[in-house]
Protein backbone atom coordinates (compact mmCIF):
# COMPACT_ATOMS: atom_id res chain seq x y z
CA UNK A 1 0.00 0.00 0.00
CA UNK A 2 1.47 3.39 -0.92
CA UNK A 3 1.96 6.04 1.75
CA UNK A 4 -1.11 8.13 0.91
CA UNK A 5 -3.45 5.15 0.63
CA UNK A 6 -2.11 3.68 3.88
CA UNK A 7 -2.68 6.94 5.75
CA UNK A 8 -6.22 7.24 4.35
CA UNK A 9 -6.78 3.59 5.35
CA UNK A 10 -5.49 4.41 8.86
CA UNK A 11 -8.15 7.08 9.27
CA UNK A 12 -10.85 4.78 7.90
CA UNK A 13 -9.73 2.12 10.40
CA UNK A 14 -9.83 4.67 13.23
CA UNK A 15 -13.50 5.47 12.62
CA UNK A 16 -14.59 1.95 11.78
CA UNK A 17 -13.15 0.84 15.17
CA UNK A 18 -15.19 3.61 16.78
CA UNK A 19 -18.37 2.51 15.02
CA UNK A 20 -17.73 -1.12 15.88
CA UNK A 21 -17.13 -0.32 19.54
CA UNK A 22 -20.49 1.37 20.04
CA UNK A 23 -23.69 -0.47 19.12
CA UNK A 24 -25.83 2.60 19.98
CA UNK A 25 -24.01 4.50 17.23
CA UNK A 26 -24.66 1.73 14.72
CA UNK A 27 -28.28 1.50 15.81
CA UNK A 28 -28.69 5.27 15.63
CA UNK A 29 -27.38 5.25 12.05
CA UNK A 30 -30.09 2.85 10.92
CA UNK A 31 -32.80 4.14 13.27
CA UNK A 32 -33.57 7.53 11.72
CA UNK A 33 -33.92 6.48 8.08
CA UNK A 34 -36.14 3.60 9.21
CA UNK A 35 -38.16 5.99 11.34
CA UNK A 36 -38.52 8.39 8.41
CA UNK A 37 -39.48 5.53 6.14
CA UNK A 38 -42.26 4.43 8.49
CA UNK A 39 -43.57 7.96 8.96
CA UNK A 40 -43.59 8.86 5.29
CA UNK A 41 -44.66 5.40 4.25
CA UNK A 42 -47.85 5.74 6.21
CA UNK A 43 -48.37 9.28 4.91
CA UNK A 44 -47.97 7.89 1.39
CA UNK A 45 -50.44 5.13 2.12
CA UNK A 46 -52.92 7.76 3.17
CA UNK A 47 -52.33 9.87 0.04
CA UNK A 48 -52.60 6.86 -2.20
CA UNK A 49 -56.13 6.41 -1.00
CA UNK A 50 -57.00 10.10 -1.27
CA UNK A 51 -54.92 11.73 -4.01
CA UNK A 52 -54.90 11.01 -7.72
CA UNK A 53 -51.58 12.92 -8.12
CA UNK A 54 -49.70 10.60 -5.86
CA UNK A 55 -51.49 7.63 -7.28
CA UNK A 56 -49.74 8.34 -10.60
CA UNK A 57 -46.41 7.49 -9.10
CA UNK A 58 -46.64 5.34 -6.06
CA UNK A 59 -43.45 5.43 -4.10
CA UNK A 60 -42.45 8.98 -5.01
CA UNK A 61 -42.51 10.10 -1.40
CA UNK A 62 -40.77 6.97 -0.20
CA UNK A 63 -38.02 7.44 -2.79
CA UNK A 64 -37.74 11.11 -1.85
CA UNK A 65 -37.37 10.22 1.83
CA UNK A 66 -34.64 7.70 1.10
CA UNK A 67 -32.74 10.04 -1.23
CA UNK A 68 -33.03 12.93 1.23
CA UNK A 69 -31.52 10.64 3.83
CA UNK A 70 -28.59 9.93 1.52
CA UNK A 71 -27.85 13.68 1.40
CA UNK A 72 -28.46 14.14 5.11
CA UNK A 73 -26.32 11.14 6.13
CA UNK A 74 -23.50 11.99 3.72
CA UNK A 75 -23.25 15.44 5.29
CA UNK A 76 -23.61 14.18 8.84
CA UNK A 77 -21.24 11.26 8.23
CA UNK A 78 -18.46 13.63 7.21
CA UNK A 79 -19.07 16.43 9.72
CA UNK A 80 -19.62 14.09 12.70
CA UNK A 81 -16.52 12.06 11.86
CA UNK A 82 -14.51 15.27 11.92
CA UNK A 83 -16.27 16.29 15.12
CA UNK A 84 -15.21 12.96 16.70
CA UNK A 85 -11.59 14.03 16.22
CA UNK A 86 -12.31 17.34 17.92
CA UNK A 87 -14.16 15.70 20.80
CA UNK A 88 -11.25 13.26 21.26
CA UNK A 89 -8.74 16.18 21.09
CA UNK A 90 -7.00 14.09 18.47
CA UNK A 91 -6.31 16.64 15.72
CA UNK A 92 -2.91 17.54 17.17
CA UNK A 93 -1.83 13.87 17.32
CA UNK A 94 -2.99 13.31 13.74
CA UNK A 95 -1.19 16.27 12.26
CA UNK A 96 2.15 15.61 13.90
CA UNK A 97 2.02 12.35 11.95
CA UNK A 98 2.63 12.40 8.16
CA UNK A 99 -1.13 12.67 7.52
CA UNK A 100 -1.91 15.50 5.08
CA UNK A 101 -5.13 17.57 5.24
CA UNK A 102 -6.12 16.34 1.75
CA UNK A 103 -5.75 12.73 2.97
CA UNK A 104 -7.95 13.51 5.96
CA UNK A 105 -10.59 14.86 3.57
CA UNK A 106 -10.42 11.66 1.48
CA UNK A 107 -10.79 9.47 4.57
CA UNK A 108 -13.71 11.56 5.86
CA UNK A 109 -15.49 11.03 2.53
CA UNK A 110 -14.87 7.29 2.62
CA UNK A 111 -16.17 6.97 6.20
CA UNK A 112 -19.18 9.10 5.27
CA UNK A 113 -19.94 6.66 2.40
CA UNK A 114 -19.75 3.68 4.78
CA UNK A 115 -21.98 5.39 7.36
CA UNK A 116 -24.51 6.38 4.70
CA UNK A 117 -24.70 2.84 3.31
CA UNK A 118 -25.21 1.44 6.82
CA UNK A 119 -27.90 4.08 7.35
CA UNK A 120 -30.07 3.81 4.29
CA UNK A 121 -29.67 0.19 3.19
CA UNK A 122 -31.98 -1.36 5.84
CA UNK A 123 -34.65 1.27 5.16
CA UNK A 124 -34.37 0.77 1.39
CA UNK A 125 -34.99 -2.98 1.77
CA UNK A 126 -37.73 -2.52 4.36
CA UNK A 127 -39.69 -0.36 1.92
CA UNK A 128 -40.51 -3.39 -0.23
CA UNK A 129 -42.33 -5.63 2.27
CA UNK A 130 -43.93 -2.73 4.12
CA UNK A 131 -45.03 -0.39 1.32
CA UNK A 132 -44.42 -2.33 -1.86
CA UNK A 133 -41.83 0.22 -3.02
CA UNK A 134 -38.60 -1.09 -4.54
CA UNK A 135 -36.35 1.96 -4.76
CA UNK A 136 -33.94 0.04 -7.01
CA UNK A 137 -36.62 0.33 -9.72
CA UNK A 138 -35.06 3.74 -10.35
CA UNK A 139 -32.39 1.71 -12.14
CA UNK A 140 -29.10 3.30 -13.13
CA UNK A 141 -30.64 6.65 -12.28
CA UNK A 142 -30.51 5.64 -8.62
CA UNK A 143 -26.71 5.36 -8.80
CA UNK A 144 -26.49 8.82 -10.37
CA UNK A 145 -28.84 10.31 -7.77
CA UNK A 146 -26.99 8.58 -4.93
CA UNK A 147 -23.57 9.72 -6.14
CA UNK A 148 -24.65 13.34 -6.60
CA UNK A 149 -26.32 13.54 -3.21
CA UNK A 150 -23.22 12.00 -1.58
CA UNK A 151 -20.98 14.62 -3.18
CA UNK A 152 -23.27 17.46 -2.15
CA UNK A 153 -23.40 16.07 1.41
CA UNK A 154 -19.58 15.94 1.46
CA UNK A 155 -19.34 19.54 0.25
CA UNK A 156 -21.66 20.80 3.00
CA UNK A 157 -19.89 18.57 5.55
CA UNK A 158 -16.51 20.03 4.58
CA UNK A 159 -17.85 23.58 4.86
CA UNK A 160 -19.26 22.82 8.31
CA UNK A 161 -16.00 21.10 9.39
CA UNK A 162 -14.02 24.15 8.29
CA UNK A 163 -16.33 26.39 10.32
CA UNK A 164 -15.93 24.07 13.32
CA UNK A 165 -12.16 24.47 13.07
CA UNK A 166 -12.60 28.24 12.99
CA UNK A 167 -15.34 28.62 15.60
CA UNK A 168 -14.65 25.65 17.89
CA UNK A 169 -16.98 23.12 19.43
CA UNK A 170 -19.47 25.80 20.42
CA UNK A 171 -20.61 25.68 16.79
CA UNK A 172 -21.15 21.91 16.63
CA UNK A 173 -24.90 22.30 16.02
CA UNK A 174 -23.97 23.54 12.52
CA UNK A 175 -23.61 19.85 11.60
CA UNK A 176 -27.38 19.47 11.77
CA UNK A 177 -28.55 23.03 11.11
CA UNK A 178 -26.67 23.54 7.83
CA UNK A 179 -28.35 20.71 5.97
CA UNK A 180 -31.84 21.44 7.26
CA UNK A 181 -31.62 25.01 5.93
CA UNK A 182 -31.88 23.71 2.38
CA UNK A 183 -34.59 21.11 3.02
CA UNK A 184 -37.61 23.37 2.40
CA UNK A 185 -36.32 24.84 -0.87
CA UNK A 186 -34.73 21.91 -2.68
CA UNK A 187 -37.96 20.25 -3.75
CA UNK A 188 -37.63 16.97 -1.91
CA UNK A 189 -41.33 16.14 -1.63
CA UNK A 190 -42.81 18.62 -4.09
CA UNK A 191 -41.79 20.13 -7.45
CA UNK A 192 -39.79 23.37 -7.53
CA UNK A 193 -42.66 25.27 -9.17
CA UNK A 194 -44.55 24.98 -5.88
CA UNK A 195 -42.09 27.49 -4.41
CA UNK A 196 -42.66 31.27 -4.65
CA UNK A 197 -41.25 32.71 -7.91
CA UNK A 198 -38.39 34.56 -6.20
CA UNK A 199 -37.24 31.37 -4.45
CA UNK A 200 -37.10 29.17 -7.54
CA UNK A 201 -33.74 30.51 -8.83
CA UNK A 202 -32.27 29.91 -5.37
CA UNK A 203 -33.52 26.32 -5.48
CA UNK A 204 -31.81 25.79 -8.85
CA UNK A 205 -28.42 26.71 -7.34
CA UNK A 206 -28.61 23.48 -5.31
CA UNK A 207 -27.47 20.20 -6.93
CA UNK A 208 -30.06 18.33 -4.86
CA UNK A 209 -32.88 20.19 -6.64
CA UNK A 210 -31.75 18.67 -9.95
CA UNK A 211 -31.65 15.23 -8.32
CA UNK A 212 -35.16 15.40 -6.85
CA UNK A 213 -36.61 16.82 -10.08
CA UNK A 214 -34.79 14.04 -11.96
CA UNK A 215 -36.25 11.46 -9.60
CA UNK A 216 -39.78 12.73 -10.21
CA UNK A 217 -39.15 12.69 -13.95
CA UNK A 218 -38.20 9.00 -13.77
CA UNK A 219 -41.12 8.08 -11.53
CA UNK A 220 -43.84 10.16 -13.23
CA UNK A 221 -42.74 10.16 -16.87
CA UNK A 222 -40.28 7.23 -16.99
CA UNK A 223 -37.73 9.63 -18.51
CA UNK A 224 -34.17 10.00 -17.28
CA UNK A 225 -33.27 13.70 -17.69
CA UNK A 226 -29.60 13.94 -18.69
CA UNK A 227 -29.77 17.75 -18.59
CA UNK A 228 -30.71 17.61 -14.91
CA UNK A 229 -27.89 15.15 -14.22
CA UNK A 230 -25.39 17.45 -15.97
CA UNK A 231 -26.59 20.41 -13.90
CA UNK A 232 -26.17 18.46 -10.67
CA UNK A 233 -22.70 17.19 -11.59
CA UNK A 234 -21.43 20.66 -12.61
CA UNK A 235 -22.75 22.35 -9.47
CA UNK A 236 -21.42 19.53 -7.30
CA UNK A 237 -17.93 19.83 -8.76
CA UNK A 238 -18.00 23.57 -8.15
CA UNK A 239 -19.26 23.26 -4.57
CA UNK A 240 -16.92 20.41 -3.69
CA UNK A 241 -13.97 22.42 -4.93
CA UNK A 242 -15.09 25.56 -3.09
CA UNK A 243 -15.87 23.78 0.18
CA UNK A 244 -12.61 21.78 0.10
CA UNK A 245 -10.85 25.12 -0.41
CA UNK A 246 -12.67 26.62 2.59
CA UNK A 247 -11.74 23.61 4.75
CA UNK A 248 -8.07 23.77 3.73
CA UNK A 249 -8.02 27.52 4.32
CA UNK A 250 -9.53 27.12 7.80
CA UNK A 251 -6.98 24.39 8.51
CA UNK A 252 -4.22 26.82 7.54
CA UNK A 253 -5.68 29.49 9.83
CA UNK A 254 -5.89 26.93 12.67
CA UNK A 255 -2.17 26.19 12.21
CA UNK A 256 -1.39 29.90 12.50
CA UNK A 257 -3.59 30.29 15.58
CA UNK A 258 -2.40 27.13 17.34
CA UNK A 259 -5.88 25.63 17.41
CA UNK A 260 -4.92 22.11 16.32
CA UNK A 261 -3.51 21.24 19.74
CA UNK A 262 -6.11 23.21 21.69
CA UNK A 263 -9.37 21.97 20.22
CA UNK A 264 -11.61 20.21 22.67
CA UNK A 265 -14.70 20.64 24.78
Amino acid sequence: MSGTWQRIWAMVLRHSYLLRSSWPRLLELAYWPTFQLLLWGFITTFFLQHSSWIAQAAGVLISAVLLWDVLFRANLGLALTFLEEMWARNLGQLFISPLRPSELIASLMFISLIRTLISVTPAAFLALPLFDVWVFDLGLGLAAFFFNLMVMGWAIGLLVSGLLLRLGLGAESLCWLGIFLIAPITGIYYPVEVLPDWLEPVAWTLPSTYVFEGMRSVLFDQVFRWDLLAGAVCLNLLYLLLCSGVFLWMFRVARYQGKLLQQGE
Binding site: L13, R14, L18, S21, A88, G92, P98, Y256, G258
Partner: protein, 257 residues
Protein backbone atom coordinates in the same frame (compact mmCIF):
# COMPACT_ATOMS: atom_id res chain seq x y z
CA UNK B 1 25.43 10.85 29.40
CA UNK B 2 27.69 9.84 26.53
CA UNK B 3 26.51 10.89 23.10
CA UNK B 4 29.81 10.85 21.25
CA UNK B 5 29.04 7.68 19.29
CA UNK B 6 25.73 9.08 17.94
CA UNK B 7 26.60 12.60 16.86
CA UNK B 8 27.20 13.56 13.22
CA UNK B 9 28.27 16.79 11.59
CA UNK B 10 24.89 18.46 11.05
CA UNK B 11 22.57 19.19 13.97
CA UNK B 12 19.26 17.36 14.27
CA UNK B 13 17.33 20.53 15.17
CA UNK B 14 18.27 24.07 14.27
CA UNK B 15 16.07 26.92 15.47
CA UNK B 16 16.89 30.38 14.23
CA UNK B 17 15.30 33.67 15.34
CA UNK B 18 12.00 31.93 16.07
CA UNK B 19 9.10 34.20 17.06
CA UNK B 20 5.42 33.61 17.75
CA UNK B 21 3.16 36.60 18.15
CA UNK B 22 -0.49 35.90 19.04
CA UNK B 23 -2.04 39.21 17.93
CA UNK B 24 0.24 41.33 20.11
CA UNK B 25 1.04 38.71 22.77
CA UNK B 26 4.61 37.52 22.19
CA UNK B 27 4.70 33.88 23.27
CA UNK B 28 8.19 33.29 21.87
CA UNK B 29 10.62 36.09 21.03
CA UNK B 30 13.46 35.64 18.60
CA UNK B 31 14.97 32.45 20.05
CA UNK B 32 17.79 30.44 18.50
CA UNK B 33 19.23 27.12 19.60
CA UNK B 34 20.69 23.93 18.21
CA UNK B 35 20.23 20.30 19.19
CA UNK B 36 23.05 18.01 18.05
CA UNK B 37 22.18 14.59 16.66
CA UNK B 38 22.00 11.84 19.23
CA UNK B 39 21.77 14.18 22.21
CA UNK B 40 19.04 14.72 24.78
CA UNK B 41 18.28 18.37 25.41
CA UNK B 42 16.01 19.73 28.12
CA UNK B 43 13.69 22.64 27.40
CA UNK B 44 13.01 24.23 30.76
CA UNK B 45 11.03 27.18 32.00
CA UNK B 46 8.12 28.13 34.23
CA UNK B 47 4.50 28.08 33.15
CA UNK B 48 4.00 30.43 30.22
CA UNK B 49 7.72 30.53 29.40
CA UNK B 50 7.03 29.43 25.82
CA UNK B 51 8.08 25.75 25.95
CA UNK B 52 4.86 24.25 24.57
CA UNK B 53 4.61 26.99 21.93
CA UNK B 54 8.17 26.17 20.86
CA UNK B 55 7.44 22.42 20.75
CA UNK B 56 4.25 23.05 18.73
CA UNK B 57 6.23 25.03 16.17
CA UNK B 58 8.88 22.32 15.99
CA UNK B 59 6.13 19.75 15.34
CA UNK B 60 4.63 21.89 12.58
CA UNK B 61 1.15 22.21 14.13
CA UNK B 62 1.80 25.90 14.83
CA UNK B 63 3.18 28.27 12.21
CA UNK B 64 5.76 30.76 13.54
CA UNK B 65 5.39 34.49 12.99
CA UNK B 66 9.07 34.68 12.05
CA UNK B 67 12.20 32.58 12.07
CA UNK B 68 13.29 29.22 10.73
CA UNK B 69 13.22 25.63 11.95
CA UNK B 70 15.31 22.93 10.32
CA UNK B 71 14.92 19.32 11.46
CA UNK B 72 17.10 16.56 10.01
CA UNK B 73 17.97 18.92 7.18
CA UNK B 74 14.34 19.73 6.23
CA UNK B 75 12.80 23.18 6.53
CA UNK B 76 9.73 22.64 8.74
CA UNK B 77 7.82 25.49 7.11
CA UNK B 78 8.08 24.24 3.55
CA UNK B 79 8.94 20.54 3.61
CA UNK B 80 7.73 19.16 6.95
CA UNK B 81 6.10 16.12 5.33
CA UNK B 82 9.57 14.97 4.31
CA UNK B 83 10.68 14.69 7.93
CA UNK B 84 7.46 13.96 9.89
CA UNK B 85 7.79 10.17 9.29
CA UNK B 86 11.09 10.33 11.24
CA UNK B 87 9.70 12.32 14.18
CA UNK B 88 7.22 11.71 16.96
CA UNK B 89 5.82 13.30 20.09
CA UNK B 90 4.43 12.36 23.46
CA UNK B 91 2.61 14.40 26.06
CA UNK B 92 0.22 13.46 28.86
CA UNK B 93 -1.86 16.47 27.78
CA UNK B 94 -2.47 15.20 24.26
CA UNK B 95 -4.33 11.93 24.53
CA UNK B 96 -5.43 9.18 22.18
CA UNK B 97 -9.06 8.31 21.31
CA UNK B 98 -10.35 6.95 24.61
CA UNK B 99 -12.95 4.52 23.27
CA UNK B 100 -10.50 2.68 21.06
CA UNK B 101 -8.34 -0.09 22.51
CA UNK B 102 -4.59 0.18 22.86
CA UNK B 103 -4.10 -2.20 19.92
CA UNK B 104 -6.52 -0.27 17.70
CA UNK B 105 -4.83 3.06 18.52
CA UNK B 106 -1.39 1.65 17.84
CA UNK B 107 -2.40 0.04 14.55
CA UNK B 108 -3.90 3.36 13.38
CA UNK B 109 -0.66 5.21 14.11
CA UNK B 110 1.41 2.40 12.60
CA UNK B 111 -0.59 2.91 9.39
CA UNK B 112 -0.25 6.69 9.58
CA UNK B 113 3.52 6.26 9.76
CA UNK B 114 3.50 3.84 6.84
CA UNK B 115 4.77 0.77 8.74
CA UNK B 116 4.59 -2.78 7.38
CA UNK B 117 3.74 -5.99 9.24
CA UNK B 118 1.67 -3.90 11.63
CA UNK B 119 0.28 -6.70 13.80
CA UNK B 120 3.73 -7.99 14.74
CA UNK B 121 5.08 -4.48 15.17
CA UNK B 122 2.28 -3.58 17.58
CA UNK B 123 2.86 -6.77 19.57
CA UNK B 124 6.60 -6.10 19.79
CA UNK B 125 5.96 -2.53 21.01
CA UNK B 126 3.43 -3.80 23.54
CA UNK B 127 5.85 -6.42 24.81
CA UNK B 128 8.63 -3.86 25.31
CA UNK B 129 6.35 -1.54 27.25
CA UNK B 130 4.53 -4.22 29.29
CA UNK B 131 1.27 -3.53 27.47
CA UNK B 132 0.53 -7.00 26.09
CA UNK B 133 -2.19 -7.68 28.65
CA UNK B 134 -3.75 -4.30 27.94
CA UNK B 135 -3.89 -4.46 24.13
CA UNK B 136 -7.64 -5.09 24.12
CA UNK B 137 -8.39 -2.49 26.81
CA UNK B 138 -9.89 0.86 25.75
CA UNK B 139 -7.38 3.67 26.37
CA UNK B 140 -10.00 5.49 28.46
CA UNK B 141 -9.98 2.62 30.99
CA UNK B 142 -6.21 2.72 31.61
CA UNK B 143 -4.55 4.11 34.74
CA UNK B 144 -2.29 7.18 34.42
CA UNK B 145 0.82 5.01 34.33
CA UNK B 146 -0.67 2.65 31.74
CA UNK B 147 -1.80 5.61 29.62
CA UNK B 148 1.74 7.00 29.70
CA UNK B 149 3.10 3.65 28.52
CA UNK B 150 0.50 3.52 25.73
CA UNK B 151 1.36 7.08 24.72
CA UNK B 152 5.03 6.12 24.75
CA UNK B 153 4.30 3.14 22.49
CA UNK B 154 2.57 5.52 20.08
CA UNK B 155 5.50 7.97 20.26
CA UNK B 156 8.03 5.24 19.49
CA UNK B 157 5.98 3.28 16.98
CA UNK B 158 7.97 4.63 14.02
CA UNK B 159 11.36 4.35 15.77
CA UNK B 160 11.75 8.13 15.49
CA UNK B 161 15.12 9.76 14.96
CA UNK B 162 13.79 12.89 16.65
CA UNK B 163 11.51 12.55 19.65
CA UNK B 164 9.82 15.54 21.28
CA UNK B 165 8.48 15.05 24.79
CA UNK B 166 6.31 17.44 26.76
CA UNK B 167 6.46 16.64 30.50
CA UNK B 168 6.38 12.88 29.84
CA UNK B 169 6.42 11.90 33.53
CA UNK B 170 3.95 14.49 34.85
CA UNK B 171 1.39 12.95 37.22
CA UNK B 172 3.26 9.63 37.44
CA UNK B 173 4.28 8.03 40.74
CA UNK B 174 8.08 8.01 41.36
CA UNK B 175 8.43 4.31 40.52
CA UNK B 176 6.60 4.56 37.18
CA UNK B 177 8.37 7.84 36.34
CA UNK B 178 11.73 6.20 36.99
CA UNK B 179 10.78 3.27 34.75
CA UNK B 180 9.77 5.69 31.97
CA UNK B 181 13.07 7.58 32.26
CA UNK B 182 14.95 4.30 32.07
CA UNK B 183 13.02 3.43 28.91
CA UNK B 184 13.97 6.76 27.30
CA UNK B 185 17.62 6.19 28.20
CA UNK B 186 17.55 2.72 26.69
CA UNK B 187 15.80 3.93 23.51
CA UNK B 188 18.23 6.82 23.11
CA UNK B 189 21.17 4.47 23.50
CA UNK B 190 19.75 1.87 21.10
CA UNK B 191 18.55 4.25 18.34
CA UNK B 192 20.97 7.16 18.80
CA UNK B 193 17.82 9.26 18.80
CA UNK B 194 17.71 12.99 19.36
CA UNK B 195 15.34 13.89 22.18
CA UNK B 196 14.02 17.32 23.13
CA UNK B 197 12.42 17.12 26.53
CA UNK B 198 10.24 19.85 28.07
CA UNK B 199 10.05 19.15 31.78
CA UNK B 200 9.51 20.69 35.19
CA UNK B 201 11.31 17.83 36.90
CA UNK B 202 14.89 18.97 37.44
CA UNK B 203 16.07 15.59 38.70
CA UNK B 204 14.83 14.05 35.46
CA UNK B 205 16.62 16.69 33.39
CA UNK B 206 19.89 16.23 35.29
CA UNK B 207 19.67 12.48 34.79
CA UNK B 208 18.75 12.46 31.09
CA UNK B 209 19.95 15.64 29.41
CA UNK B 210 23.29 16.52 27.84
CA UNK B 211 22.27 20.14 27.46
CA UNK B 212 19.58 22.44 28.75
CA UNK B 213 17.80 25.44 27.21
CA UNK B 214 16.24 27.65 29.90
CA UNK B 215 13.29 29.77 28.76
CA UNK B 216 11.68 32.66 30.53
CA UNK B 217 8.89 34.91 29.22
CA UNK B 218 9.37 33.70 25.66
CA UNK B 219 13.14 34.18 25.45
CA UNK B 220 16.13 31.95 26.16
CA UNK B 221 17.42 32.99 29.56
CA UNK B 222 20.44 30.67 29.50
CA UNK B 223 21.70 27.42 28.03
CA UNK B 224 24.44 24.89 28.61
CA UNK B 225 25.11 21.49 30.15
CA UNK B 226 23.40 20.78 33.49
CA UNK B 227 26.80 20.58 35.22
CA UNK B 228 28.02 23.78 33.54
CA UNK B 229 24.90 25.71 34.57
CA UNK B 230 25.10 24.45 38.14
CA UNK B 231 28.71 25.57 38.51
CA UNK B 232 28.13 28.88 36.67
CA UNK B 233 25.33 29.82 39.08
CA UNK B 234 27.26 28.46 42.08
CA UNK B 235 24.44 26.15 43.06
CA UNK B 236 24.21 22.53 44.19
CA UNK B 237 21.58 21.35 41.73
CA UNK B 238 19.59 22.32 38.65
CA UNK B 239 16.46 23.08 40.66
CA UNK B 240 18.22 25.98 42.38
CA UNK B 241 19.51 27.22 39.02
CA UNK B 242 15.95 27.03 37.66
CA UNK B 243 14.67 29.06 40.62
CA UNK B 244 17.44 31.64 40.19
CA UNK B 245 16.51 32.12 36.56
CA UNK B 246 12.76 31.98 37.10
CA UNK B 247 12.91 34.55 39.89
CA UNK B 248 15.74 36.48 38.25
CA UNK B 249 18.84 35.87 40.40
CA UNK B 250 19.85 39.50 40.73
CA UNK B 251 16.43 40.49 42.14
CA UNK B 252 16.53 37.61 44.61
CA UNK B 253 20.03 38.45 45.81
CA UNK B 254 19.04 42.11 46.26
CA UNK B 255 15.97 41.13 48.24
CA UNK B 256 17.97 38.77 50.47
CA UNK B 257 20.68 41.35 51.13
Amino acid sequence: MDSSSCGTASPAIQVSKLTKDYSGTMAVKNISFTVERGTIVGLLGGNGAGKTTTLSMLLGVLVPTAGEITILGANMLTERHRVLPRMNFSSPYVGMPARLTVAENLSIYANLYGLKDIKNHVHRMAEGLALTELLKTPVGDLSAGQKTRASLAKALINDPDVLLLDEPTASLDPDTADWVRGYFEAYHKKACATILLASHNMGEVERLCHNVVMMKAGVIADQGSPGGLISRYGRDNLEDVFLDIARDASDVRETLS
